[in-house]
Amino acid sequence: MKKFLFYCALTILIAFIFIGIFADLIAPMDPDAINMANSLASPSAEHLLGTDHLGRDLLSRLIYGSRSSVFIAFFATGCTLLLGLTIGLVSGYFGGWEDQLIQGVVNIFQGIPSTAFVVAVLGLLGPGIKSLLIAIVVSSWARFSRVVRNQVLGIREMHYIEGARAMGGSNLYIIRRHVLPNILLPLLVLIATRIGSTVLTVAAMSFLGLGLRAPASDWGIMINDAKLYFVNDFRVLLAPATCLTLFCLSINLIADYLRDHLDNDADTARIL
C-alpha cells in the first residue's frame, strides 16, 4: 500500500518535472496570448480547461507554471544543499573554533522564522527570480548545515573513520569516501521536504506579488489573478490550487516513505 502510494507520488513528481522541461512542446497554446473576447470561458475542445480573466488558455499556463515552480524549487534546493553541505561538513568534521563560530552564525540565521526572512530579503532586494532564489537560499541554508553537522559529528566518532585516518587517508579522501555517502541517505528526506516547501514559498511569494511578476505563468500568480474571479467561476482558482496541492502531496508521500524506509533497518533489529 505504502509502496504503491510512493510509486504514484514518484510518477507524479517525474511527470511534473517532464512537463516543466518540455513545456514548449506540450502546451497547446501560447500561455500569454490574451483574448479578451474569450475571457473566463468554460472548458471546451479548444481550451481544455477553459480560459482565465484575460482569455489566456488555463492549461497552457498551468504547464508553463510547472516549469517555473519546478525549476526554481530544484535550483534553489540545489544551491541550499551545496551551501549547507559545505558549511555543515566543515563545521562538523573539523570542529574547533570554526565550528563554534559557524554554529553561532547558524543560530542567528535560525533565529528568524523562514517566511519572515524570505519576505524581508525579497522586500529589500525587490521582486524577481534572482532575489527569490537568493532569499530562499539565505533563509534555509542554516537548517541544512545544522542537520549535516549533527550527522557528521556522529559519523566522525565511528571507528572506520579512525581506521581510514590510520591508513593515511587525507581529510578530503575520508570526507568523500566515508562521510558523504553515509549522510546522503538521511539528507534525502530533508531534500525532499525542502523541495516541497520551496515550491510553496515560491507560490506564496508570487501570490503576494513579491516573487515572480505578472504576466509570468506561475501557480502563485494564477491564484493571485484568480482571487477576483473565483467567486463566479471557481475553476480558475481550482486549477492552480490543485496543481500545487498535487505537487506537495507527492513530495509529502515520498518523504514519508523515505522516512519509514530508512528507519526500517532499525525496526527489524529491534524485534530480535
Binding site: A116, V231, A241, D267
Partner: protein, 316 residues
C-alpha cells in the same frame, strides 16, 4: 532543583548572543538593500523631482553619511529604548504602529496555537490508540492530504464554501469574532495534521522502547501505557515543531492576514515591503526574530521539563 535552575540560566544566557546577532542581521539587511532612503523618501510623490542638493541635505539630516558602526550604535541605542525609528513613508514610529496592530496578530496566533495543540495532540493519540484500524488508515491519508493543501488555497476554498455559497461566515475584517474562524483554520489545519502525524510516529517509536515493555509487563493496558509513560517522552519533537510554527505566527502571517483583510503585523510588513520602507522592514525582522527566539527558548524549557534527562543528565 539547583541543576534545573542552572539549566534555565544557561539557556537564557545562550539566547543573548543570538538576540544580538539578530539585531546585527536586521541592521545589515537594511544596510545592504536600502538603496538610498533619502531619495526614496523624496520621490514618494511621483510628480515631484528633487534636486541633488535636496537629496544630499536629507541624507545628512537622516545621518546616512556617518560610518556604519555609528549608524548601528545609534540604531541599537534607539532599539534598547524602544525606538525602532520612524517609517520613511508617514513618519509614524514603527514600534507603536506594530504594537497597535499586534493584538489582531496575537489573537489569531493564539487561536491557531490552541487549534494545533488540541487537534494535533488529540489526533496523534487517537491515531495511536486505533493503530492499524480503519480510523488510523483513513486519518493518516486524510491528514497527509490536508497537510499538502497550501494555506492560501485552503483559505480561498473556505471563502468560496462558507462565505459565498453558504453565507455562514464573514470573508474579512476582525468583527465579529467569527471572522477569525476561517483565518485560524487556514493557518492551523495543515500544521495540526503534521503535528498529529509527528506525534503518532514518535509515540509508536516510544512504544517499542525497552521501558514500554517493562510497563506493559506490569499489566498496563495500551491506553494507560500511552498516557502514563510514552506520551510525555514522545512530546518533545511535537513541542519543538509547534514552537517553530507558533513563533512564525507571531511574526504575522502575511498571506492569511492579507486574504482576510486582518490588520496585523503581517499586513504591516507587506505594506512596508511594497513601499520599500526599510526602517519598518528592519523593525519587522527584529520583532519577528525576538518573538521567535523567545518562543524557542520557552519550548526548550518545556522540553527540559518533559524530559529531565536534558536538564539533569548530560550537561550541554
Amino acid at each position: 532543583m539547583n541543576d534545573t535552575l542552572r539549566y534555565i540560566m544557561t539557556k537564557i544566557f545562550l539566547a543573548i548572543p543570538i538576540l544580538i546577532g539578530i539585531t546585527l542581521l536586521a541592521f545589515g539587511l537594511g544596510l545592504i538593500a536600502r538603496g538610498d532612503p533619502a531619495l526614496a523618501r523624496l520621490t514618494v510623490d511621483p510628480d515631484y523631482i528633487p534636486t541633488e542638493e535636496e537629496v544630499q541635505a536629507l541624507r545628512e539630516e537622516m545621518g546616512l553619511t556617518d560610518p556604519i558602526f555609528i549608524q548601528y550604535g545609534r540604531w541599537i541605542s534607539g532599539v534598547v529604548k524602544g525606538d525602532l525609528g520612524e517609517s520613511y513613508l508617514d513618519d509614524k514610529p514603527v514600534l507603536s504602529e506594530m504594537l497597535r496592530l499586534l493584538p489582531n496578530t496575537l489573537l489569531l496566533s493564539f487561536m491557531s496555537l490552541t487549534l494545533i495543540v488540541v487537534l494535533g495532540l488529540l489526533g496523534g493519540i487517537l491515531l495511536v490508540v486505533f493503530q492499524d484500524r480503519l480510523f488510523d488508515v483513513i486519518g493518516r491519508i486524510l491528514s497527509i492530504f490536508i497537510m499538502s493543501v497550501p494555506g492560501f488555497c485552503l483559505a480561498y476554498f473556505m471563502i468560496w464554501v462558507f462565505a459565498q455559497k453558504l453565507k455562514l461566515l464573514p470573508t474579512s475584517g476582525t468583527e465579529p469574532m467569527t471572522a477569525f474562524i476561517m483565518p485560524c483554520l487556514a493557518l492551523a489545519l495543515s500544521s495540526a495534521c503534521l503535528v498529529a502525524r509527528l506525534l503518532r510516529s514518535s509515540i509508536l517509536g516510544e512504544l517499542v522502547q525497552d521501558y514500554a515493555l517493562t510497563a506493559r509487563a506490569k499489566g498496563l493496558r495500551k491506553s494507560q501505557l500511552v498516557f502514563r509513560h510514552t506520551l510525555r517522552n514522545a512530546l518533545t519533537p511535537s513541542v519543538t515543531h509547534i514552537a517553530n510554527v507558533f513563533g512564525g505566527f507571531l511574526g504575522g502571517s502575511m498571506i492569511t492576514e492579507s486574504i482576510f483583510s486582518i490588520p496585523g503585523i503581517g499586513t504591516y510588513a507587506l505594506t512596508a515591503i511594497n513601499n520599500r520602507d526599510y526602517t519598518a522592514i528592519q523593525g519587522y525582522v527584529l520583532f519577528t526574530g525576538f518573538a521567535f527566539v523567545l518562543v524557542c527558548l520557552l519550548s526548550d524549557l518545556i522540553c527540559s521539563y518533559l524530559n529531565p534527562q536534558i536538564r539533569l543528565g548530560r550537561r550541554v
